[in-house]
Symmetry: C2
């Protein structure tokens, strides 16, 4: 007799596991249930649908060859039974039965399984703010809310929007509203930076300034205390601990929580973040029950900690692994390194591994380099700078994390994905210095920006390069505790000297050999060039001449300009 | 007393090693010599200079901050002595002396060294073709020839050009001449494909058709036997074993040979391809002499074989390693995986590892998958297909190679660089299936094209997917030995049925469940969909119904159209 497999959840992982198993064992009797009727959609496309890049909602639940993935499609093309509007109520593990409710008939049914797959996803956290239930306040968690919001916007009913929470979805939504609909959008975040868990404050500042430049109003270190309005007119504004912002739409995106209650009730082990615990084969503590996607916890391959990582890309890969293992195969999901990328207006950003803060929390002693370099050969036209932050452990030189920002998203992704591939092998900094990335002048430098990041970090760890962050430099400069030695040309430095007087010293690098004894040494000298290499050489040269109280400004003028535009003379 | 370091060669590796050492040990007395006066240039930029993308020759030997890298620059900014037009004649290893000739004075000089670095590069192979010394015949090996050629073109003296040799440089030059100058260009290659060592014939066919479509005339399997013309009028054409092509410029690019004669004469070990042998620290068999770049042989990390790999990117990284080791450090160059990328008109191409042919030659049993998939989420606008060929060993599943082609070069590079990072760790196919590449709809699919390549290859190795190459399918189809079952829609298949009659069968995938018994089974059925996944599912479905004589066409319609446009109905 053929085995009965029941899969709970029909968004990303569920259908993937079903189709994979069906390909391996056409005789398997597979049923997928989902409480919704909109299924098998690309949830990560929601901001693009709201924004209008994806014109038609069907695009999000169609195949690449434009088949709508509905129940009939799964029946006809995949030979998989799919029951919509059917919700899991409880699991009787001993009897291998699942109790489900059919919403259309309000009937319950006991479904027998040989193997069960939990792909129950996650639920957006709804912060307990007064007014959160007013009309015009929503979380974008599924297609229904997305359709509703887009409908409001398209009808011209939204002039001003507030997005609460500046994680990836919040940032994408703020862009979508501003860019394509011209909605006056305010993004509010409790932490003191955008994308708080994923990027360091220095890198997120680049993103913040870019978004601000595109018209998004960003409020950091602010918490929403009330949502204003009434049942009749709907939302009219939000009140924070600092200000009040009028608006007619509020979207909350403050994170998600794994849907694991039924698993917990059934006695399956649950992790400290509320995700279902699984082994490398993605089996729960019951060997007949698999789980994957947003409802589980997985091992972070750099920190070794178990955490939820609600990413559609992981869910899809896990779905295939579960399909293989359901058929008696042995495929492992070893863990995640938290790789992701985003497009934010004209910026592409990507990251993997741990941030400095996450690395400290995990017990490492993180040290980092921040480099700026053209993403392709400097002699090839149309170059633009890419910014890479590379993080490692000071003692072991173990690679911990990478964050990158640049105007060419695919090029940013290329650097991060290549380094991310190294994390699982416990690689060290020199693995990045010598990483063999492909080179041609239109796409890379012979010594590529990613290699430069490795080289710089190595120099910092060895104490050859003594850096200072742009933020620390600006703070110390404002307090007149440091001087800047600008080794660029006279023309580039002129306006700085006019603005900052003798706190700003210009000696072009090629004149230093003759003029280094002009330098005042009563205060630390912060060394500045375009992007960092010449100031590093200057630091070494000055050291050889006995001037050691210097700091090399990480990322140079490029980083300064993008991080603190107000510091730059008009 | 400070050490004396002599570096021979001032293009890529030499200056890099010098600057690195100087940073670590400012007291080192470093002298670089070069027989030329044009030094420290980006040789990989030459095609872009000839083509005009790089307008000014100085761009190729300037820094990112527009300093011309001449002798004075090295003196002032790097504190390194650089002697141009000074050539190495011989090495007296026992006495640690190098005999050099100063071309300007025609004097020789003995230079004492503590450590010597050989960065002597490679010389273009000049095939012994009659007429190769005529005016208008050149190899593009250095800036002098590049300047001469560009000068001829810019003066309008070149209407028709022939490029001999379709390696990377030949292909780039053919593009440069055609694209920017409208020169009628013929590219001649003795082998039966473009880029013969780097890409398989199937992938190079995509490149060939793209170039042909852009106006480059390509002659494969042709060898030039004579270059026609006389001393006075210069070159007038070339004669091959098959045809005669009139032209007024001939550029030869048939490969390079390591410059190792002086090293050989000095008793250093030389490899079977004529490159200097070095250890992982890049020391020759004399521990006081280092070598790197185009003049050495290095270990291929996939095949284990020692080969020359003349790439500027490797030379730069090796230069830094040599600089570190000259100072008593311990940095290793473990080897190469032969990663490189190219831009060819509107195509980006990249590769790493071994081709199928190279893998066979190295003793593997290669098997491969060729997949086509949009480079970003299929619902996001402006998608284009990327083609990836992934190669592994059948028995061990060890990853052997990757080749990729697509319209977005940075996106192509991203996939290849991430997989290339795995080669050094002896990864297997499942390492690509589960590779954690970053995902956002504008930049990737949730199940990315590179993961799909891993999945497909795994299915092929397990015998679940029984593929056929487009080339084999077309050949068998022409001989009426196979039929095509087209599971796309009626509209897409209509013109094929009109052209090919009942050799072309259309049953859309969703109708197969009801109609599979219509299928004739007297001949193999080649299964076609847009890119491959649906035809794979069809193959499994038919197998479950007892129809097993089927082949899944790799890369589907996309691959067929780009490889054999003549096969497609008008």
């Amino acid at each position: 007799m053929s085995r009965k497999v029941l899969i709970v959840g029909a968004v990303a992982l569920g259908p993937k596991a079903a189709c994979r198993l069906k390909r391996l064992d056409p005789s398997a009797e597979i049923t997928i249930i989902d409480k919704d009727y909109l299924i098998s959609y690309g949830g990560c496309g929601i901001p693009y649908y709201v924004g209008g890049d994806v014109a038609d909602i069907e695009g999000l639940y169609s195949t690449a060859s434009h088949h709508v993935r509905d129940c009939e499609f799964f029946e006809k093309c995949k030979n998989v039974k799919l029951l919509c509007r059917t919700e899991l109520i409880s699991i009787d593990r001993k009897a291998k039965k699942a109790l489900v409710r059919h919403h259309d008939t309000d009937q319950t049914e006991e479904m027998v399984y040989d193997q069960l797959v939990l792909a129950t996803g996650a639920t957006p956290i709804q912060p307990p703010i007064p007014g959160a239930d007013l009309p015009g306040v929503t979380v974008i968690a599924n297609l229904h809310n997305a359709i509703r919001v887009k409908d409001l916007i398209a009808k011209g009913k939204v002039d001003k929007a507030v997005v609460i929470g500046a994680g990836a979805i919040g940032v994408e939504l703020a862009e979508a509203l501003t860019d394509l609909w011209g909605v006056e959008t305010t993004l509010i975040e409790m932490m003191d930076q955008l994308l708080p868990p994923a990027f360091g404050k220095d890198m997120s500042r680049l993103i913040e300034n870019h978004m601000t430049g595109k018209g998004v109003k960003i409020l950091l270190s602010e918490g929403v205390t009330h949502i204003l309005g009434d049942e009749k007119t709907g939302v009219t504004g939000v009140k924070t601990n600092k200000s009040e912002i009028p608006c007619d739409l509020v979207i909350m995106s403050v994170g998600v929580r794994p849907n694991s209650q039924i698993a917990r009730d059934a006695g399956l082990a649950i992790g400290m973040y509320g995700g279902i615990l699984v082994d490398k084969r993605l089996r729960t503590t019951d060997p007949n029950i698999y789980a994957g996607g947003d409802c589980i916890e997985m091992t972070h391959l750099v920190s070794g900690q178990r955490i939820p990582m609600p990413l559609g890309s992981l869910a899809n890969r896990q779905g295939r692994i579960i399909g293989t293992n359901l058929n008696g195969g042995w495929e492992e999901f070893k863990g995640t390194v938290g790789t992701f990328c985003l497009k934010i207006f004209d910026l592409g950003i990507a990251r993997a591994g741990l941030t400095v803060k996450q690395a400290k929390d995990a017990g490492f002693d993180p040290v980092y380099a921040l480099v700026a370099q053209s993403e392709h050969a400097h002699f090839y036209p149309d170059q633009a700078l890419m910014y890479i932050k590379l993080i490692a452990d000071r003692n072991t030189r173990k690679l911990l994390g990478i964050e990158a920002v640049g105007s060419k998203g695919d090029a940013v992704k290329a650097r991060v994905d290549a380094v991310a591939a190294l994390f699982q092998y416990n690689a060290s900094v020199s693995g990045v210095s010598n990483l063999e990335v492909s080179y041609a002048p239109p796409y890379a430098s012979a010594m590529d920006v990613v290699n430069a990041a490795g080289n710089t970090l190595e120099n910092i760890i060895l104490g050859q390069n003594i850096p200072i962050d742009v933020a620390d430099m600006v703070a110390a400069f404002d307090q007149k505790k440091v001087r800047v030695l600008d080794v660029r040309g006279k023309i580039e430095s002129q306006s700085f000297i006019e603005k900052y007087g003798d706190q700003w010293i210009n000696i072009p690098q090629e004149e230093l050999l003759d003029r280094f004894d002009e330098l005042p040494v009563d205060q630390p000298l912060c060394l500045l060039c375009d992007t960092g290499p010449r100031s590093f050489e200057t630091q070494l040269f000055l050291k050889s001449k006995g001037i050691t109280n210097t700091r090399n400004i990480q990322g140079g003028y490029g980083m300064l300009m993008l991080s603190y535009p107000e510091f730059i003379p008009d």
